[in-house]
């Protein structure tokens, strides 16, 4: 009996050994068709892309979809275009970064007439180098364990650390943070960029941030704020509405503070000079389909770009989208052109300010 066990063990360990040896072999390249590489912002958003778009696309067209994630910027794409070694094909981008990258010739201009479902899309979804992927929103949320149903519901209350003690999470970048500060200071969303364009407005935003500074923990990737909320590191935080809803689908109960939400559209872009441009358009077409978009919103509730998709969404889902009329109170559409002009000096001032203890 003992012998038997030891033989089993031996077989088992040999099997393990061979699997380790197999690991050492050259990384295997998949099926015959040239794979397409798509890049998103990671986390639950990427999961939603994966199950609504990439996986079904891969199955239907028998092509490998390689996924990568990044945290924004277009340094990688720029390096690829400059060297001609294009390893990303389709990339999700923020609006302002897309415009800047487009100006610098890093992205393929989108040929609208080649998109099969162009007519079904919301006209605002077209930009020179991008097709709208979805509408996202930055909202406030808080820990129900700490504050029950009565937490800070808008940015003004978000600043009140006496009534709602604990750390606050905000994204470590001037864009959106300065807007949030002005909203908290009582600036109406319609006047916000007019105020922020003036030197006094900038000072005002930083002064407001100063009030909260010692309580802020800065997050950099979209998954962090919810992780921190769950870990008790922060008691209230800004976060993307989609990430909050995904956490809630998984059993959490984070309230979404729509009052004063900041929203904008993210775009799909094609890196200039990619060999996979036809495949990229094929995938774009696939992602524009109403039924795929519906699947996407079911995975992560972001606003959709295909108008037909919105018609087939259930009401329960529609009500938690950033685009729902009920959620648009004091909503602020981010001004990408403002940020294109002011990114550098505000970034530097913000960096200087944020790193002072």
């Amino acid at each position: 009996m003992k012998k038997l066990i030891s033989i089993n063990k031996l077989v088992d360990s040999t099997r393990r050994l061979t699997s380790i040896l197999a690991l050492c072999s050259v990384p295997i390249i998949g099926s015959a068709a040239e794979p397409i590489t798509v890049v998103g912002f990671g986390g639950s958003l990427q999961d939603a892309f994966h199950s609504a778009y990439f996986e079904p696309f891969s199955e239907q067209y028998k092509v490998d979809v390689i996924e990568d994630s990044y945290t924004g910027g277009f340094a990688k794409q720029k390096a690829m275009v400059k060297t001609g070694n294009i390893t990303w094909d389709l990339v999700q981008m923020d609006e302002n970064e897309m415009i800047a990258a487009c100006d610098q010739g890093i992205l393929e201009p989108i040929r609208k007439q080649e998109l099969l479902l162009a007519d079904e899309l919301n006209p605002s979804a077209f930009s020179r180098c991008g097709v709208g992927a979805f509408v996202w929103s930055m909202v406030s949320t808080y820990s129900p364990e700490k504050f029950g149903n009565d937490g800070p519901k808008n940015w003004k209350e978000f600043w009140d650390v006496e009534k709602w003690p604990g750390k606050r999470g905000l994204r470590k970048q001037p864009r959106m943070t300065l807007e949030i500060a002005l909203l908290a200071d009582g600036v109406a969303s319609d006047d916000l960029y007019k105020v922020l364009a003036t030197p006094e407005g900038k000072d005002r935003a930083f002064a407001k941030l100063n009030e909260l500074k010692e309580h802020i923990i800065w997050w950099e990737s979209g998954a962090q704020p919810l992780e921190w909320l769950r870990g008790g590191i922060v008691t209230a935080t800004s976060a993307y509405n989609g990430r909050i809803s995904v956490a809630n689908q998984e059993g959490s109960q984070y309230p979404i503070g729509w009052d004063g939400q900041l929203y904008s559209m993210d775009y799909w872009t094609i890196v200039k000079g990619t060999k996979n441009i036809d495949r990229a358009y094929q995938l774009l077409d696939f992602m524009m389909k109403p039924e795929q978009q519906k699947l996407f919103a079911e995975n992560i509730p972001y606003g959709l770009t295909n108008r037909k998709a919105n018609q087939i969404l259930p009401n329960a889902l529609l009500s938690i989208l950033p685009t729902a009329p009920a959620n648009q109170k004091n909503a602020l559409l981010l001004d990408s052109y403002f940020w294109l002009d002011h990114e550098e000096d505000l970034q530097q001032r913000f960096t200087s300010w944020v790193s002072q203890n």
């Binding site: 800047a100 800065w218 990114e343």
Partner: protein, 425 residues
């Protein structure tokens, strides 16, 4: 070992025959042997030069490289290079040059690069360029009304500040990034001065980087020295346990160690829960995502770099020195300070310098366990490269960091020798 007879007998034999040729042939043999040595060295020397030194040179170049305006607006930059901005007004030809440059660049990547570069000089320059370029093709251009045309599009073109900035950034090489890395800039009068108070950031970051590295090094030495001394003095089993405790983390993946610390120290982590369950504290302590976290984790990671050189050094100090001093009646503390400590200075300096050099370049650890207030130079280099695509700025900050490290390295190799630093006895 008996090695003498072989080599020498040959020589004796030669010497008996022809002394002159011997010298020559010895010389030749020596030359041949040297050639073989160089031949063996060549592959790595070439490899290191091509794949290590050349990249560093590329970085130096990128810090002063300034092609955007010259290639985006060639006519304008050529024209402005002869303009004496202090004494003469802007020549009208500059307007028509800019108009033709903008028309030519419209729709091409050069225009975006030009606009981005100019926006570094004055905020809003980007939109001024893009707006002008967008509107120009629709407008009819007469012979000499280019000036009026630009004024009509945007009255900012009447402000010479924009033209001076355009001239300033038309040079083939620019000191802009290197100056900016020290919070300096060239103002409109052409003088070098500090940037506005609220924009100053890199001198602070540099000081912070050096401070964190110094504090970490001091802590490492302060706990590393007694640890190394214990390893030398204690009985063998204890030494082995200590060695194991130092070497196991040393060989463990940096990211595995970092994640272990985060899980241990975070608000509802192992350590806080442990203290709360013992009733020592009621509210969790803030031990991570702040400077405490950075220091704890960095010391944990860098301790071996301090301990091992000191340990090597202490091993070579004969034990009987201390015994002798104490048997002569000296107090052990006095004996330690006057005899033991001075002998261990080479180990301390090697360990300290090594720790400091590694610490000063850190970026991953502070970015994972620190807050915004603990980010070091390395973080900003990565930030400018990967997020904002400002390669000039990244390179300039890289040069500042490189100078710090190479300065110390040079100091260390002169005072201690490379071998001591590398741990080759």
């Amino acid at each position: 070992m008996s090695t003498t007879p072989l080599g020498t007998t040959d020589n004796v034999h030669f010497e008996a025959t022809e002394p002159g040729t011997l010298k020559k042939s010895m010389h030749r043999a020596e030359k041949g042997r040297r050639a073989i040595t160089w031949l063996l060295l060549a592959p790595l020397l070439i490899y290191t030069s091509v794949f290590f030194v050349l990249p560093l040179c590329t970085m130096l170049y990128k810090a002063v490289d300034n092609p955007e305006v010259i290639s985006g607006a060639p006519n304008t930059s050529k024209l402005l290079s002869t303009w004496q901005s202090k004494s003469t007004p802007l020549p009208d030809a500059a307007y028509s040059a800019l108009v033709s440059d903008l028309k030519h660049a419209y729709g091409k990547p050069e225009l975006g690069e030009l606009a981005r570069r100019l926006n570094y000089e004055i905020s809003g320059f980007r939109s001024l360029i893009m707006k002008s370029a967008r509107k120009l093709p629709a407008l009819k251009l007469g012979s000499n009304d280019a000036k009026q045309l630009l004024y009509d599009i945007d009255n900012r073109w009447q402000d010479t500040r924009y033209w001076i900035a355009l001239k300033r950034s038309s040079e083939r090489f620019t000191p802009y990034y290197l100056l900016a890395a020290l919070d300096l800039k060239v103002n409109d009068k052409g003088e070098i001065g500090f940037v506005d108070q609220e924009q100053r950031v890199y001198t602070k970051v540099l000081i912070r980087t050096l401070t964190i590295a110094t504090v970490v090094t001091l802590i490492c030495l302060l706990i590393g020295y007694p640890l190394a001394a214990l390893m030398v003095r204690a009985p063998k089993p204890v030494t082995i346990i200590l060695m194991l405790a130092i070497m196991l983390p040393f060989w463990t993946s940096l990211l595995a160690r970092t994640s272990a610390w985060i899980v241990t120290l975070q608000a509802n982590g192992i350590f806080n829960n442990f203290l709360i369950s013992l009733g020592i504290i009621a509210e969790p302590l803030e031990l991570i995502f702040n400077s405490t976290g950075v220091y704890i984790v960095m010391v944990h990671i860098l301790l071996p770099f301090a301990v091992l050189p000191i340990y090597n050094n202490l091993q070579n100090i004969p034990n009987h020195l201390m015994l002798a001093s104490s048997s002569l009646g000296a107090h052990p503390v006095k004996g330690f300070i006057s005899i033991y400590l001075p002998l261990s200075i080479p180990g301390i300096s090697a360990g300290g310098l090594l720790t400091f050099i590694v610490a000063v370049g850190y970026y991953i650890t502070p970015s994972l366990v620190g807050s915004a207030g603990e980010q070091m130079l390395g973080y900003f280099i990565a930030f400018y490269t990967n997020t904002t695509v400002n390669w000039g700025m990244a390179s300039a900050l890289g040069i500042v960091l490189l100078l710090c490290v190479m300065g110390l390295y040079a100091l260390a190799s002169v005072t201690l020798g490379v071998k001591q630093l590398a741990g080759i006895k």
